[in-house]
């Protein structure tokens, strides 16, 4: 599989095979990112579909990624997840029965590690929307501060502040010593 720079050049030349390569490389990553935030495989799959259909439209209209393919794809996923989250939040306000508690999310079907489930539940329950995205992108997806800032369309220093507050919140709610013992 070609690296991002070569794929980017091929996409700018509208290489059809490069599009398929980009899908094979980034669809699982987008799925993981969306799954950790949505907690549903179906919803995460919808996010993947939306992201890559939008990528096709961008390529078709002569736009698309220019310099950072990975950040570009994660940015599209971020916007989709945020839109979906806000829409569901609006629906949940209309009917509280729709709201799912973190403990009964379908994530338990895919993750067998208890620590992982606790951390994910804490992230979903206690962190703000921006903090959730920053923590997941920085520590679970391994993106740099600059790439995360590009995805969230914020300043680098702003991302550092959001990250610091999110980690501080997790420190308060997680029993670190207990988790160390488990691990």
């Amino acid at each position: 599989m070609r690296d991002d720079f070569v794929l980017l050049q091929a996409l700018q030349n509208r290489d059809k095979r490069a599009l398929v390569e980009v899908f094979d490389k980034y669809a699982p990553a987008v799925f993981r990112y969306a799954f950790r935030l949505c907690g549903s495989a179906t919803e995460a799959d919808d996010v993947v579909g939306d992201v890559f259909m939008q990528l096709l439209e961008q390529i078709k209209n002569g736009r698309g990624p220019r310099d950072n393919l990975r950040a570009y794809i994660y940015q599209m996923a971020y916007h989709r997840i945020v839109d979906k989250s806000r829409r569901e939040k609006h629906l949940a306000e209309l009917d509280d029965n729709i709201r799912q508690t973190p403990s009964d999310t379908p994530a338990s079907r895919y993750e067998r590690t208890a620590v992982y489930e606790i951390i994910l539940a804490a992230i979903q329950a206690y962190l703000t929307e921006d903090q959730q995205h920053v923590v997941l992108l920085r520590f679970f997806e391994g993106l740099s501060v600059h790439d995360t800032a590009t995805i969230l369309e914020k300043d680098d220093n702003n991302i550092k502040v959001i990250q610091s507050r999110g980690v501080a919140k997790l420190r308060q709610v997680l029993d670190i010593e207990l988790m160390k013992e488990i691990l």
Binding site: A10, N13, R14, D15, K16, R17, L19, V20, F23, D24, A27, P28, F31, R32, F35, R36, A41, T42, D45, V48, G49, F52, M53, L56, I59, K60, Y110, E111, T113, V115, Y116, I119, V135, F139, F140, E141, G142, S164, V167, A168, L170, R171, L174, I176, M179, K180, L183
Partner: protein, 205 residues
């Protein structure tokens, strides 16, 4: 932020990063369906995308080169059009750029001729009447009055023109004429101008 909190934050970060490799698999069935839909979307991009991708992938010609080539072709066509139009309208352009020089008309001097008997001005002992109307109307001694009321005993019908000749005494129907006041005479009254008595209108003899 205290040092203790900072150390705890580092522990949290280490804990989060340890979960980075937690295996989350894209369910194969969902992945295949999504990939199939994506390939269908790629194919549906149209003939244009396929042509572009074929040209681009085989290195036959690059998009940037095509763009430059297109610009060059357009510029060449535009230049040829300008040349053709200027050739067709070359006369008008020449007239516009180089206006025609005006021909100088030199006044022709007529030789002086002695006046002869034929072209000499014949003097007339009588003044030539001018046809131009005079601005100052000449005073007329007669006035034409159209009247619907006629003098009693007259034979002319009503509405006929009556020629009135002013006299020194002033006839009783001398309308429009101002009598010259006589010294010692009474003042005319506008209200009973037509019915004035003889003592008032008759000048003193």
């Amino acid at each position: 932020m205290s040092e203790h909190e900072s150390v705890n934050d580092q522990e949290v970060i280490a804990l989060l990063e340890s979960q980075k490799d937690t295996h989350i698999t894209y369910p194969q069935e969902l992945f295949e369906k999504r990939r199939h839909a994506f390939l269908h979307g790629v194919a549906a991009l149209g003939v244009t995308l396929i042509a572009w991708s074929l040209l681009g992938s085989k290195g036959v010609i690059k998009i940037s080169e095509l763009t430059q080539l297109g610009i060059k072709i357009l510029l060449t066509v535009a230049a040829v059009e300008v040349l053709a139009v200027s050739y067709v309208y070359r006369d008008k352009i020449r007239d516009f750029l180089i206006p025609p020089t005006p021909v100088a008309v030199s006044p022709q001097l007529q030789p002086y001729q002695q006046p002869t008997a034929s072209n000499a001005v014949k003097a007339s002992p009588y003044p030539t009447p001018s046809l131009a109307p005079s601005l100052t109307p000449e005073p007329s001694s007669t006035a034409v009055v159209l009247s619907t009321r006629f003098a009693p005993g007259a034979s002319q019908p009503a509405g006929a023109a009556v020629q009135v000749t002013p006299t020194e005494d002033g006839p009783p129907y001398s309308y429009g004429l101002t009598k010259t006041p006589k010294p010692g005479g009474g003042q005319d009254n506008d209200n009973n101008q037509g019915n004035s008595t003889d003592s008032e209108t008759k000048p003193d003899k």
